[in-house]
């Protein structure tokens, strides 16, 4: 790698050259806002970076960078383009390489493993998740906070549902690639929220796409967030092998988790340094589902026959969505549903930050970060809230008691109502 201007500044450690030490990033950091233990992104990012050796194997001088939640708001706010959150995450990986990582971190990062273990025993596992004693023990033994927002296991995975349905796992030979979409479901849909996956498929098929669900595994983001880059690279490599051909054939890869899609779009290259042709092809072909639907709408190709859903709907844009840099497409879509009063939370971070909010030593920070959001959601009086990221949904629901769904759950519901009204038009009169 050379040091040429444009390219170099996109490698997070080199981007720190642009820092003018102004501390704007520290003023917007949600974690620094709530805890004195975290010195803020400037300190642990571009400032500490000058004291770090370049090799991941070097002794790491860091400790407080581990409090960074990775929300990325600092990177958004920096006027000079310092990739602060990305630099922090690399520093965390250096800590892990130097001092190792805990069993707890490895376990909670491994959602695929948890799903394989949990879904066959879903009722029992879910009982454990609800049971106070079990959660208390989980906290003492594992370090997962007893009130950490863990979702309930589904009895059947999305993957097994797709197989039973006879869904496509490869591109049919007569496929028109531009009308074919690869659905990257992610762990949340697979093991905890398969209904969301079903809604996604329904919406995509309704809008004329053939959906393919090829072999895939966890995107690896929890491993990246916890600095476990080696494991993350292995998962990423397998995903890229599976997905690259579709991307090169001209199909889009669509996800319902802004975290998974961000990993595919950006973090495989920025954090794991996977920059080969496969990684680039997949990144270019990856879309968030709301991003896709808005794009369709822009071209006049979206089915806009949405039936009314008359309710207030607090919507929280997740931090990962902000990192996508695509605005809030969900809000644009909500505008197409008659009667729906969607309100952007205008709050920085819910606090969950993936696995961060589960950890016994971070749970309170996560709750404090999200507190103003939770207050807004409760005060809205709404029956439910919406958010594009699973861990955020579980955090909001856990901390407010208000059921929180993905935006497309609302859209799918609106489509279904429209269908029902068409099939039984006399019902509308009643």
């Amino acid at each position: 790698m050379t040091f040429h201007d444009a390219a170099a500044r996109e490698f997070p450690p080199y981007s720190t050259d642009a820092c003018v030490k102004c501390n704007v990033c520290t003023t917007v950091c949600p974690v620094a806002r709530v805890t004195d233990a975290f010195p803020g992104p400037k300190y642990v990012g571009p400032q500490a970076e000058r004291f770090r050796g370049p090799d991941v194997g070097d002794a790491s001088p860091d400790r407080t960078v581990d409090l960074c939640s990775g929300c990325g708001i600092c990177t958004r706010a920096c006027p000079h383009g310092v990739l602060i959150a990305e630099t922090n995450n690399r520093a965390r990986a250096a800590i892990v390489a130097d001092r190792g990582s805990s069993f707890r971190n490895r376990l909670i990062s491994d959602t695929d493993l948890m799903i394989r273990a949990g879904t066959p025993l879903a009722p029992l596992a879910n009982f454990g998740l609800q049971n106070r004693m079990a959660r208390w023990m989980g906290e003492k033994v594992l370090g997962v906070h007893r009130r950490g927002p863990l979702a309930k296991f589904s009895r059947t995975t999305f993957g097994s549902w797709w197989r039973r349905r006879g869904g496509l796992t490869a591109l049919p030979s007569d496929a028109e690639p531009s009308k074919t979409i690869v659905y990257f479901h992610g762990c949340a849909v697979n093991g905890f929220e398969p209904d969301l996956g079903r809604d996604a498929v329904a919406i995509l098929e309704r809008n004329g796409f053939t959906v393919v669900v090829p072999r895939q595994e966890c995107c690896g983001l929890p491993f990246i967030s916890n600095g476990l880059y080696e494991t993350a690279r292995r998962k990423a490599g397998r995903n890229l092998s599976s997905l690259a051909a579709f991307a090169r054939a001209g199909s889009r890869i669509v996800g319902t988790s802004t975290s998974c899609t961000h990993a595919l779009k950006a973090e495989y290259r920025e954090m794991l340094d996977l920059s080969d042709a496969d990684a680039t092809a997949v990144a270019d072909a990856t879309w968030d589902i709301c991003e896709l639907l808005v794009d369709l709408h822009d071209r006049g190709q979206l089915d806009v026959g949405f039936a009314p859903i008359v309710e207030p709907l607090p919507y929280h844009p997740p931090c990962q969505l902000k990192s996508h840099g695509i605005g809030t497409p969900a809000m644009d879509l909500f505008g197409l549903v008659p009667g729906l009063r969607a309100i952007d939370s205008d709050h920085d971070c819910c606090g969950a930050a993936g696995t961060y909010g589960l950890k016994v030593e971070r749970w309170q920070i996560a709750q404090d970060v999200g507190a103003p959001l939770f207050a807004k959601v409760r005060a809205s009086g709404a029956a439910r809230a919406a958010c594009d990221s699973e861990t955020c949904r579980w955090q909001i629901e856990s901390s407010t008691g208000v059921p929180t769904v993905h935006p497309i759950t609302i859209l799918a519901e609106s489509y279904r109502r429209a269908d029902a009204a068409r099939e039984e038009p006399w019902r509308r009169i009643v």
Binding site: A32, V294, D295
Partner: protein, 427 residues
């Protein structure tokens, strides 16, 4: 990431896209939104609001008596933005004061107010006239009132004893009858590991903490007729209450003394303007960095901002360039002396590289006057639906003349009016 292919993805089109979220950009966006236009503010990041002292520097060249007087003097300088914008200043400033006042940030002073000395954190005097209410007591006539400067032990950016000593030597006509300094041990602060201005300000937002802190400070104040100069940390979200509580606790007028960035007064100003824009259905997005521009001849169709693995396309009828100068990275200087405006690539006029700097770092640098040249409508050469506002404009030395905020507001106002009432969304 640098995308290998651009993808088209757009939000509902806006009438106007404002690029940059400093005082100029936010003010222009607010005015347009208040007039009913759909406005989208796209900013790479937050900058100058969070670096400056939070007062309104409209015009304070050397011999000016009031800001209005200052504007008139600067307007006579060839090529100065005020030579064209002077007549917009009144309306621009009063609109701004109404706007931020409605968002809870009232100010004192007007263009007719005499410029008066404001004590700085290091104990020098700078001239000011229009300031947020929390700074107003510094400018009110002193008569026989003294000044107590307060520091908070553990807070690194207030230097009350140093400042008091310097102020004793300052030429302060009709200034305080005496100047004292106290450093107060506020309970809990010395145990903190992080005591930046934003950290303290958030603590002051908490009524319980605030009460204890103000009581400790009050106990340390000397008896007598004093005004109190506090570090500028009196709350962010509950600033008005914090300031009122301080005056009540001390039984005296209190003013904030701004110091090193990050500027809490600047954060309040940013928040106020942003709230106004959102309240008028405008959108403000931070972290939106313009990477390319679509144009047809003299017309800009859309800008593209950097998104993950692609770009986001923002189409609009008009675009306002409010990206600022060198400090805020709107203009970048190259090693060979080239000056690059980073969004539209507009030509930057400025001195030759050999003449950029003065020998003394405390004197104005000729390079400060570099910027973009525009016509009466604030449009740059070659682009008819673009307006350039704020410190990106050529011809002013905003530090020396203390005119940056005034030019920002006046140009924002002129640009908003020049872009007219909301037009139909382009097909």
């Amino acid at each position: 990431m640098r995308p290998s292919q651009s993808a088209r993805q757009s939000v509902p089109r806006a009438d106007v896209v404002v690029i940059g979220a400093g005082l100029a950009g936010l003010s222009c966006a607010a005015e347009l939104a208040e007039a009913g236009a759909s406005v989208f503010v796209a900013a790479k990041g937050l900058a100058t609001t969070h670096w400056t002292h939070g007062g309104l520097d409209v015009a304070a060249p050397a011999a000016a008596r009031t800001s209005r007087d200052g504007i008139a003097r600067l307007a006579r300088t060839d090529g100065h933005p005020y030579s064209r914008l002077a007549r917009d200043a009144d309306a621009a400033v009063s609109r701004h004061l109404v706007r931020v006042g409605a968002a809870g940030l009232d100010h004192a002073g007007s263009l007719a107010t005499a410029l008066a000395p404001f004590p700085t954190a290091i104990g020098a005097l700078r001239r000011a006239a229009i300031v947020p209410l929390a700074q107003a007591a510094a400018l009110e006539p002193w008569r026989v009132t003294g000044l107590v400067l307060v520091g908070i032990r553990g807070f690194p950016d207030a230097w009350p004893e140093y400042a008091a000593r310097n102020l004793e030597n300052a030429a302060w006509p009709d200034g305080p009858s005496g100047i004292r300094a106290v450093e107060v041990a506020v309970p809990g602060v010395e145990r903190l590991r992080n005591v930046g201005s934003q950290d303290l300000a958030r603590l002051f937002d908490d009524p319980a903490w605030r009460g204890r802190a103000l009581a400790a400070i009050a106990a340390a104040l000397p008896p007598g007729d004093w005004r109190v100069g506090m570090p500028a940390v009196l709350g962010v979200e509950h600033h008005a209450a914090a300031h009122a509580d301080a005056e009540a606790a001390f039984g005296r007028r209190v003013f904030e003394v701004p110091s090193l960035p990050p500027s809490v007064p600047g954060m309040r100003l940013f928040d106020a303007l942003r709230r106004r824009i959102l309240a008028s259905a405008g959108r403000v997005q931070i972290g939106f960095d313009v990477v390319s521009v679509e144009r047809e001849g003299r017309h800009v169709i859309a800008i593209h901002t950097e998104a993950a693995s692609r770009t986001l396309r923002l189409a609009a009828n008009a675009f306002v360039l409010a990206t600022g100068g060198i400090a805020g990275a709107g203009i970048r200087a190259l090693p060979d002396g080239g000056l690059v405006e980073r969004v539209f690539g507009l030509p930057v006029v400025g001195p030759e590289q050999a003449s950029w700097f003065s020998d003394d770092p405390l004197m104005p640098h000729p390079l400060e006057a570099a910027g973009i040249e525009v016509d009466e409508q604030l449009a740059p050469a070659g682009l008819e639906n673009v307006r350039v506002i704020g410190s990106a404009l050529a011809g002013m030395r905003y530090l020396d003349e203390r005119c940056g905020d005034g030019v920002a507001l006046a140009s924002a106002h002129r640009a908003a009016r020049s872009l007219g009432a909301p037009r139909a969304v382009a097909a």
